[in-house]
């Protein structure tokens, strides 16, 4: 059992556990923190897959920016366990069951895909994950979508202003 495998299983376990904790923890702040944990685990996976750039971006953008934003908002609304609205237990059960069914479906489906048998994800090598290559690709073939995302950000910006501005 190589270190990679150990790390893989450890990170996977961590990710799943923290994801579950995100759901179950009553206090929103805790959920946020658990979610950050998930992101760290995932970044770990990226590192294992030798996708450093994404690992970093994931940490910066998600764990760093987005989650902090969430945190601010929650703090600002000072939501805590008391104010936390709860769904009816049956609804929760239904949610869990249907989600479970969905999972089962997909998994059973994956088990039937023969062509995936024996395919491996290349670990710790292959350099497509490196900033250099990604940058080349991004500003070469993928420049158009890259530009177009600017429109996305513009609209998001305008939107945030329109919604957020007091009038």
């Amino acid at each position: 059992m190589s270190t990679i495998q150990i790390l893989f299983f450890f990170l996977s376990a961590l990710a799943i556990f923290s994801a579950v904790m995100v759901l179950v923890s009553k206090n929103p702040v805790h959920s946020v923190l658990w979610l950050i944990a998930v992101f760290f685990a995932i970044s770990g996976h990226y590192v294992l897959l030798n996708a450093q750039f994404l690992a970093i971006v994931n940490l910066i953008v998600y764990a760093g920016a987005i989650m902090v934003l969430f945190l601010f908002v929650i703090m600002l609304m000072n939501l805590n366990t008391e104010t936390e609205p709860q769904k009816h237990i049956w609804m929760k059960l239904a949610g869990v069951i249907s989600g479970g069914c969905f999972l089962l479906m997909l998994i059973s489906l994956v088990r039937q895909t023969q062509e995936m048998v024996g395919r491996k994800a290349l670990m710790a090598e292959g350099n497509i994950g490196l900033i250099k290559n990604l940058g080349k690709a991004l500003f070469g073939d993928y420049v158009v979508p890259f530009e177009i995302t600017s429109v996305l950000f513009l609209s998001a910006m305008v939107g945030a202003v329109v919604i957020g501005k007091k009038d």
Binding site: P145, I148, V158, G159, V162
Partner: protein, 462 residues
């Protein structure tokens, strides 16, 4: 390519005009001019050589079908702005921003009409959706508007998640972000049979698209959002956006259903029947015209799905005609609706007496939606049915469809009854002569298309 760039730029221009001028009507004027520019640019793209050429590395493929759908969308937007510009101005303070967002949406529309590959599809859908979340919530003081935008946002991003999972699975199976090829299998030299991963991915993709075009059972956001959003923007969402959603849907699946095999038809017909059922039946009992129109838009979506069901040339022409007819009629009705003080059916009582012209135009729009001959709506439906019949087989589906069409007559005509046969004093906001003329022109256009649909199709298509 023209359309994408110009629309994006116009969005920016609108933002600036918002900074420069505080006079609201200026923005409208700018928007109208901009739209004209946009249309011209797009037409140049379709006919002339004047194209901004950018090497998109195969991520975009600009072809006639998409360009024509653009033209329809832009024209519809122009009509929409001309009719409802005043109302947009009165919706809130940031008029310029609204227009900017509208232009960004149009940018998304033009991406969806020319995407090639799932990446651009994804971006296009997002560019289309995010401004809409905001427009839905534009009426900030109004709790309904808040609720609508929250619902729309949550469900929208959920569907994005589904979409992405679908894309991912397809990528996993095929190693590429384009549909309809099974590279990996062939490469692996195994028996050529569609990978289950790919199938699952396409199903999820299908679900996400169904959500976007509000096909049952993924339609639930539609009534609430359309009802909650400010009337003007509902009109925009229900017409241009939905139409482009269908264009994307068709461009996505038209050539790739072979991968899915025959079960595809079963699924699709299930969805179609469900959509028709939910849309038509639920619309029957509505009390608010706005909400009725929301459900009717679901019902119309059911009809448009036929184009997907029978993916043949007739269907592609049909979807163009349908989106034109449907958009025009719906825009007309919404334009009238948002002039009403009371959105319920009773609000329309006796409109024919107080505003005969408006009532007449509305009637024609409603007839068009109901698919009565001599209106554009008839040929729209006609093409859909014809394409299915041509595709052969499932005539029963067509029969079901027409029965539901008969049901749709019920709720459309309730409005006509209210306007003409019921007594009452329908109260409206002030209605300018310009508005009336606009409506009349619209109605005339609908009737013209209703008599000579091929005009449109010849202009736009062949």
């Amino acid at each position: 390519m023209n359309a994408i760039i110009v629309s994006a730029l116009l969005g920016v221009v609108m933002m600036f005009s918002g900074i420069i001028s505080k006079n609201k009507s200026v923005h409208t004027v700018v928007a109208v001019v901009g739209l004209l520019l946009l249309i011209i640019a797009n037409l140049l793209n379709s006919y002339g050589p004047y194209v901004i050429n950018i090497n998109t590395h195969g991520l975009l493929s600009v072809e006639q079908f998409g360009l024509f759908s653009n033209t329809i969308a832009f024209t519809a937007t122009l009509v929409y702005v001309l009719l409802s510009g005043k109302t947009i101005e009165n919706t809130g303070v940031n008029v310029a921003d609204y227009y900017a967002l509208i232009f960004f949406v149009l940018c998304g529309v033009s991406i969806l009409s020319s995407f090639n590959g799932l990446l651009m599809l994804f971006l296009g859908i997002e560019i289309l959706s995010i401004p809409l979340y905001i427009l839905t919530g534009a009426d900030k003081r109004n709790l309904k508007s808040n609720e609508a935008s929250l619902k729309y946002f949550l469900m929208g991003s959920f569907s994005t998640g589904i979409l992405l999972m679908g894309i991912t699975l397809i990528y996993g199976a095929t190693g590429s972000f384009t549909l309809g090829q099974s590279k990996s299998i062939a490469g692996a030299g195994l028996v050529v049979q569609t990978s289950f991963l790919q199938i699952a991915g396409m199903l999820l993709l299908f679900v996400a698209m169904c959500f976007k075009v509000s096909a049952a059972p993924f339609h639930f956001w539609t009534p609430d959002v359309y009802d909650g959003a400010p009337g003007v923007f509902t009109s925009f969402m229900a017409t241009i956006v939905k139409a482009s959603g269908f264009i994307a849907f068709i461009r996505l699946f038209e050539n790739n259903t072979s991968v899915l095999g025959p079960t595809w038809k079963i699924l699709l017909s299930l969805v179609i029947v469900a959509t028709l059922l939910v849309g038509n039946i639920t619309a029957v009992f509505q009390q608010s015209v706005k909400r009725m129109l929301a459900y009717s838009s679901i019902a119309q979506a059911g009809f448009m799905l036929f184009a997907l069901y029978s993916a043949n040339d007739l269907a592609k022409e049909g979807i163009l005609l349908y989106s034109a007819a449907y958009s025009l009629a719906t825009i007309g009705i919404f334009a009238v609706l948002i002039k009403m003080k009371d959105y319920t059916f009773d609000g329309f009582n006796g409109l024919a007496k107080t505003q005969p012209v408006v009532a007449l135009a509305t009637t024609i729009c409603l007839l068009s939606l109901a698919g009565i001959p001599l209106t554009a709506g008839f040929f729209a439906k006609y093409y859909m049915l014809a394409s299915v019949v041509k595709a052969g087989g499932s005539i029963w589906l067509v029969i079901v469809a027409v029965l539901f069409a008969a049901v749709s007559v019920y709720y459309y005509f309730r409005v006509i009854q209210a306007m003409y046969f019921k007594n009452g004093e329908a109260e409206t906001l002030e209605i300018t002569n310009g508005f009336k003329t606009g409506l009349l022109v619209l109605a005339a256009l609908i009737v013209l298309i209703g008599i000579f649909p091929t005009i449109v199709l010849n202009w736009f298509y062949f």
